[in-house]
Amino acid sequence: MAPQGNPTVVVIGNGMVGYKFCEKLLAKSTAFNLVVFGEEPRVAYDRVHLSEYFGGKTADDLLMAPTQWYHDNGIVLHLGDAVQEIDRASQTVHARSGLVQPYDYLILATGSSAFVPDIPGVEKKGVMVYRTIEDLDEIKAYAATARSGAVLGGGLLGLEAAKALLDLGVEDAHVVEFAPRLMPRQIDAAGSAMLQSKLEALGLKIHLSKATSGIVGDGKIESLHFGDGSVLEVDMLVISAGIRPRDELAKLAGLEVGMRGGIVVNDEMQTSDSRIFAIGECALHSGMIYGLVAPGYDMAEVVVSQLLRGARAFTGYDMSSKLKLIGVDVASFGDPFIAEPHSRSIVFEDAHNGVYKRINISPDGKYLLGGVLIGDAEAYNMLLQTVNNKLVLPPHPEDLILGARGGEVDSGAGVMSLPDEALVCSCEAVTKGMICDAVTEQGITTVDAMKKCNKAGTGCGGCVPMVKDLINGTLTAQGAYIKNVLCEHFDYSRQELIDLLHINDIRSYGAALDRFGAGDGCEVCKPAVASILSGLWNELIVKQNVIQDTNDRYLANIQKGGSYSVMPRMAGGEVSPQQLMAIGRIAEKYNLYTKITGGQRIDMFGAHVSDLPDIWEELINEGFESGHAYGKSLRTVKSCVGSTWCRFGLHDSVSFAIELENRYKGIRSPHKMKSGVSGCVRECAEAQAKDFGVIATEKGWNLYVCGNGGAKPQHAQLLAADIDKETLIKYLDRFIMFYIKTADPLMRTATWLNKMDGGLAYLKNVIINDSLGICVDLEAEIELLIKNYHCEWKEVVENPELRKQFTHFVNAPKAKDPTMEFAEMRGQKMSKAW
């Protein structure tokens, strides 16, 4: 407990706002003794998300903070003990338990109760209110036996309650509203109509303009009678006809209260007794009761400021809100009703999809004043910010609700253009600047972490999408730098490290880590450095074995179950009958599954690691060499049959494909590279879907670069047209080496080009016009790589020390992994599903 002599602050009421007051005060000062009285048996819980109690959340899930929190913070907590009297003269409160507690400051956070209209029969069994967890338990228990039910009140809470009835399995659910439309205080008539039709489609029956005159039944409710003489038979009724401020204690103490309820407060939240403050739904400020949580939190902030001799005042609150009612988005912001001549409205109505949007703009078309969104409220946060920050509207304000049409949609940039002081989370008063700072200065990257950091998004949750956009937007703004660092062990980009290793003649991972890194490396930087070392020196890849991914370490592609696949090179997709027979014989001998791949060659699957050297010995004896399918390197140069056989072929695409494949084979690159050569414009080799592709023309060859198939297909772009073979190879040498030297790890050529400043024009300038003056170097460097080509498998087969590494058990080299199992499919073996 805080030391004696500190002023004592007594809080009456332990709801959301009462709790928030304690939290805010503790965050600013510990120089107060805090005593809290709560009339409910449990500590403060989240009433905004009360309906989730029916959706599976427990009472504990909804707590604002566990009981322990109060103890940990030295708060004296009296639960289940209502204060019955305030003695202003002696500055004490008297609780039902007989406890007398003196105060220096008294905070009334007594909240509100459900307003129950004085309808005959309202006392009958089966008539309930929707307010507390206890109310919900009662509704739950009663609904178990009810077939039909009605909610009295078509406002925000009433519709929440109606959803609860549906969730509880009440088949026949009704909403009864006195006004001629739903949510009359928040949305306009057209919006209400749209909401109504959506809710009706979901099975709710809506009755408007109904004045309930009686609740009829024998002891328990059986029917509702209305002023127009009609009758609705129901088994239960939930009353949600508004709230009534809990001001009886204040009234008893002689504090000023409003005519229709509410404790009168000034801008400092002081009641007519300057030592007593009132906050939340019990407070009446400028004739207004605020039934939302965000203004309540703001009032709490004001009182904290007052106690600390600050100057914050409460000056009214924006009642904009967004919620999901039974799966339907409903939002209203700013002034939703303002009309001619003070405003002009733009309305979008799509009855087919149940979407209604209205924005009200100032007569000069410059500012957004307010609006209503039904069915699709994705734009809510941005629109609210546009109102609150008086952002000048774009020339076509209709784009705000329709989205930009024709041309690129500018996604994400919107939130980043807000001013730093824009209030994003109004419940917790978190601004855009605070969120962005948390990302840049505290390294926050997720919404969950942000909630812990500054509580943004922990109140009503409406701003969560915007918080997410701001996190991502801020990360993107920094992204160029973040993404370029290899990992926690190397504080350099791949490009920087290439230069460092090159200049310092570093040829091993250990030396690189000692010189330029920290720690012991990881599965990200090891293969990245391996790729760089290969790209620089092209020394035998097996020497780097422990820093390679398993595919490069065992020179084969690992498959499900721990077996490997074997893929010899078939440059250009050309294979002789003798080679085909050899593959057939070897595959049969080692019991391998065979398949023709997308790259025009034959893959053999299901090899045990210990069989790999024997299989390759036989393949090499038949004239094959490694196909480098396991490496981040050139895979295949696919070809069509070309002018040697095809009646349309212009040039010999097969020979050119073989020449290119053999030229660049084995060279390690940031990611795999695929290629193709087509003999005419019919493009049978699909060269325009490749990292580099060549198509024959009447006058020579066209060279395309940076295409991609895979998950995100992208057409290759024309780098040079109608060039001869020699020029094409020269350009390709430069292009490939430039890619090897400047791309990030595991970045395909398509992404590389997409991220390149200046794009294709820049690339053309570098490769064709030598704008950087590096082409001589690029050509020399790739020449070195080409010269240093080895068939990696030949080296292994001929080297007993290397062969020894191809075992499953070091202490039983001949034994195979006994857990490896295969199934059968269409007469061949198949890996077992995992």
């Binding site: 062990h489 490396g521 599965e523 991914d549 398993t550 065992y554 721990g562 499953h808 039983a812 995992w834």
Partner: protein, 105 residues
């Protein structure tokens, strides 16, 4: 179970120990040895000995990454470092006169 020459420096190898597959790691950079189960619990694959080892965090916690889907596990505790529930068994290991010995868990 094997000699130190059987396990590549800064790499791993799998040994058969009383019918169990054990992954042995020669963390030569740190002069440390570790032993864990060879089975990656994520997809039940006998593979961890072929994973890359490294370290993470300010404390340089030693770890191994499964080659299949890059789940990483602490070599000290066996705990999965990617937030998954699964963890792996670690075994006591010692090296005497260039011979590697594995103890019972």
């Amino acid at each position: 179970v094997c000699t130190i020459a059987d396990v590549p420096a800064d790499g791993g190898a799998c040994a058969l120990v009383e019918g169990e597959q054990v992954a042995i790691f020669n963390f030569a950079r740190r002069g440390e040895w570790y032993a864990t189960q060879n089975l990656c619990p994520h997809k039940q694959q006998m593979i961890l000995a072929r994973g890359m080892i490294g370290s993470t965090g300010a404390a340089c916690e030693p770890k191994v990454a499964c080659p299949y889907h890059k789940r990483t596990f602490s070599l000290l505790t066996g705990e999965c470092l990617n937030g998954d529930e699964c963890s792996i068994q670690t075994y006591p290991i010692k090296v005497e006169n260039e011979v590697v010995y594995i103890g019972r868990a």
